[in-house]
Symmetry: C2
Subunit: 378 residues, 2 copies
């Protein structure tokens, strides 16, 4: 297991070394803007060539600036997970947002949803009949009909109705309640198991969505949106039956995505800069980026809490709130005060812990981008 | 393994039920203020009876309001992990702060440290001779000498010099560089292994600190502070050789602390409120508090990503960014839209993900407290 890719001085990998000499207080999250822009362009263009729209999941970057770059590159809108994320992006001028989540519009969320629906082109997910009553109440407060997409489970067994019959039942109830049924969506998150799983999950997404779209049409519903997608499955979710994909992590890449094959080492556009602050024990150095920076996300496909390109045989085997002890093997050792780049396991988790990103442009100039939707979980 | 304590309608546990009817958008972190105040008072008073000062670690709560309550109860100051945390608390009027971390005062951190040292009664940790050069440079920018405590390893094998000889070498170098050596500290974090480990770690802390204090005194250093502490080891770190303890998590408690025996179920003062948003799959409900709220912290002493007091046999077996699927067993099942209280595994990790705490006072009134030092990692 583990992505212990040998450190090579490739065009892109050497950019990490350039970051190390930047005068940035650590720990810090650094974005390689040219790489990020390339990731965005490649995804949007590849999908466009297949006739599929890209609606990137913005929970990965939570940044209005990055969302704008995605739209400029041809994305048709963005995906978010919460009402409060949608509020932040709507305030930032993003006017086409899908909340890919079974929104439970109780309490204050009802009015907030209505206000959003008044302002932007909004759609929300639904996977149960009881949720419809609340969504309909929100829609009643809005000047426009509320658009909904019915969520299907394609194998992740998390949310989403399990079959087309269930999807039709939810769609019928939604239409009866005055909601505007627009189509179906799924998240083939079982793509995260392995490279083989990513291919199989993509096939599941295509099958389940195709069947459900057909069933909804047969029941008299207009199905304009058939939406799948996760970054690992997106290279394989190629079908005329899909209208859009919602990958998120592709924008930065991370260790997990490298392990699953969707992105390569030279596509990585986000690293954590961290300083060696202690060398009190033989065979170990301690970095100043702990769980409050790297997160304790530890996918089964990688080993340790991050990858150090300069010291590929070193492992972050333990992680405390503010300390990352690195177990060293033979070979050169990091010195006290040395700044290292860490490739995180899971980009979404790491960005979620930060309030700003240090953006490094092609000319080496720096810009600080706020993580606008930071902590927007409600 | 696992703390599947049966749900009992004790005085304190029934408070969780009261929270469920509060009109709060989920996910949300709710603090039971009377319980929290009791936890603070009990810890400070118990240590005071032993002649030991309490300097709570504020990385658990990151809240100026809570730090003030700790000081009002008799704490002599607070502990933090980073310069930026210290800056936030200093701005909030807390004027005695120990950064219990081997601070590497490079770049902009040098000036920031000097400014802090000008403003408040500050001390910082050091565990290497090379770090001293940077701390001395910071001290040169300050109007006052910079106070340092030498860190010792007492068995966690993370940071801290491994023995008294190492401590004397660092103390000598610090004094030569013009820093004010005030004493020694350690973090007996190996207390987190088990209840037995907590007792043994406390004994290690007392032994290691006692030896080091003696060695520093023999080498001519004034040793006014001998500082140990972690929440699990603090009940056992009882010795005339210690002057202060720095427990953090005791303020709220969490599942891990219950498993380690330092706090009981009725001491828990922090819960996450979350709504059931999906029931699409038999034997499972999905809550709206995912890894971005609960964190993926999964100590070996507990099972699953949180404990549901109302459904003690249910388990949060998987955790996604915004979804917590709960595996149900026989018995009553949560309904769609039901709000549940989740006891988190690790309070520090959960608070670190939030920007505000909903404080519930004894009379049921609510107050929103900012997590002032949120994301202050540099």
């Amino acid at each position: 297991m583990g992505v212990t890719v040998p450190y090579q001085k490739t065009e892109m990998a050497s950019r990490f070394d350039e970051f190390l000499s930047l005068d940035i207080s650590t720990p810090a999250l650094v974005v390689d803007v040219p790489r990020m822009d390339r990731n965005i362009r490649l995804m949007v263009d590849r999908l466009a060539a297949l006739g599929i729209s890209c609606r990137p999941h913005a929970k990965t970057h939570k940044s209005i600036e990055i969302a704008r770059r995605q739209l400029s590159a041809g994305a048709i809108g963005i995906t978010v997970a919460t009402i409060s994320e949608a509020e932040v992006f709507a305030a930032g001028g993003i006017d086409d947002i899908f909340i890919a989540y079974p929104v439970w519009a109780a309490g204050a969320k009802r009015q907030r949803l209505a206000r959003l629906n008044d302002t932007i082109r909004l759609a929300v997910g639904v996977d149960s009949v009881p949720a419809i009553e609340h969504l309909a109440a929100a829609a009643d407060m809005s000047v426009r009909p509320l658009r909904v997409l019915v969520e299907l489970d394609s194998g992740e067994h998390r949310t989403g109705v399990p079959d087309s019959a269930g999807a039709v039942a939810v769609a019928d109830a939604a239409a009866t309640a005055g909601l505007e049924v627009c189509g179906v969506f799924t998240h083939g998150g079982h793509s995260y198991g392995s490279r083989a799983a990513a291919r199989l999950a993509a096939a599941d997404e295509v099958d389940v969505l195709g069947d459900a779209a057909q069933a909804l049409r047969a029941a008299g519903h207009a199905v304009r949106v058939v939406s799948g997608g996760s970054t690992p499955s997106s290279p394989y979710a190629v079908s005329e039956s899909l209208t859009e994909l919602r990958p998120g992590t592709f924008v930065f890449g991370d260790r997990q995505q490298c392990a699953l094959g969707g992105l390569g080492e030279d596509d990585l556009a986000l690293v954590v800069l961290s300083t060696v602050v202690s060398r009190a024990h033989a065979g170990q150095v301690v970095l100043d980026a702990g769980a409050k920076v790297l997160s304790k996300d530890l996918p089964a496909t990688v080993d340790g809490y991050g990858w150090l390109p300069r010291y590929p045989d070193a492992h972050i085997t333990r992680l405390f709130d503010h300390h990352a002890p690195v177990t060293l093997s033979a070979g050169p050792e990091p010195t006290l005060g040395e700044v290292l780049a860490i490739v995180p396991n899971h980009a979404c988790a790491v960005v979620n812990l930060a309030t700003e990103l240090v953006a490094v442009h092609a000319d080496g100039s720096l810009e600080w981008w706020p993580v606008d939707a930071h902590s927007r979980n409600t």
